[in-house]
Subunit: 203 residues, 2 copies
């Protein structure tokens, strides 16, 4: 299989964490990308209309975009385990993934605002709204941090990638001080081999 990839994309990292958890990383050929919020990557676009990173090309040539779908696809191929079967555990994991991905979407919108627009076109109100979403997510996870311990599923993987992205791109958000339980959870989770193997290079 091939994966349109970037070492700086937190959504690509989710896919790679899943791959490492299942011992599938060696079966993914990583394709370099030039995806950008305004200038699309024509090579990815030729395979999938979203032209996003990550996009997976499987052995049949089929293109699958969207980290959620790619992660579930890889998990299913490997026999499952990271997407719990239908029941309470599944809805908790998927809902946590949504919250973590929502924090990442907000973080990326701030990043695009600051890197893809001239200063005159930036909106401080828009940035503040995205920051508020990140803060709400952090507070929510802080409240359930004890229940996260021991869970390795798509919810906690997404959360780990979201917190890693804050550390990479938003060092000014000193989130650990106000969220000590979440910080303790992350310290343990980030030590997993799958997380260590997918750490982004220094920004």
């Amino acid at each position: 299989m091939q994966l349109f990839h970037s070492h700086f994309s937190p959504f690509a990292r989710k896919v790679m964490v899943v791959a490492h958890e299942h011992g599938l990383a060696e079966s993914l050929e990583l394709l370099p990308t030039a995806a950008h919020p305004v200038k699309r990557d024509g090579t990815i676009l030729a395979r999938h209309p979203l032209a996003q990173v990550p996009t997976l090309i499987d052995e049949t040539g089929r293109a699958i975009a969207d980290s959620r779908v790619i992660c579930e696809y890889l998990d299913t191929r490997a026999g499952g385990g990271l997407f719990p079967e239908a029941g309470q555990a599944r809805w908790i994991a998927l809902n946590d993934q949504s919250t973590a991905d929502g924090m990442l979407d907000a973080a990326l919108l701030i990043r695009y605002e600051l890197t893809a627009r001239p200063e005159s076109e930036r909106s401080s109100a828009w940035i503040a709204a995205q920051q508020a979403k990140i803060e709400s997510g952090l507070a929510s996870f802080e409240g359930i941090a004890e229940a996260l311990a021991g869970r390795v599923d798509i919810g906690t993987i997404a959360l780990g990638c979201a917190l890693g992205y804050l550390d990479l791109r938003f060092a000014e958000i000193v989130w650990r001080a106000a969220h000590p339980a979440l910080g303790a959870w992350y310290e343990a989770f980030a030590a997993r081999p799958s997380m260590m193997a997918t750490r982004p290079p220094a920004a």
Copy 2:
């Protein structure tokens, strides 16, 4: 159950189409919302950190955000059918949902740009990039329109809601002329009772 809802939200519409397909619409109490891209709705925020429309509150008081998760949750409660079991049909349906949702995300980003910012802070390059994503999605679905016929799953439901939103908010995108096969598919799909029952009011 309760659903934070708006008649103008295409993602809330996805949830309601699923509910109607399964005869569950009557079991959802619709809660009015004031969600806005910059001013968050405090009532939803008190239940879920994303403060998004749609957000579902089930009988146990649990809040689930994100149309994808809510739709799968309702489908599972009803015995399934709209999220195919793992296999080719599932990946096709989920990938189509991603593409349709990606078109909607792009459309909403254009809408936010035009409604939540003063004119001086708008970026024509950003808007053009979102329009390009919508166009790529339309072209992709036009290419597979014949294979969509007869499919009623989360992929086609998401696509129907995406096309309906273009008609609601982007009447200037005359998509049917360049995508006649997709237009024909949509005409038939939009006549389903679930789609008729969830049509947004005139903008």
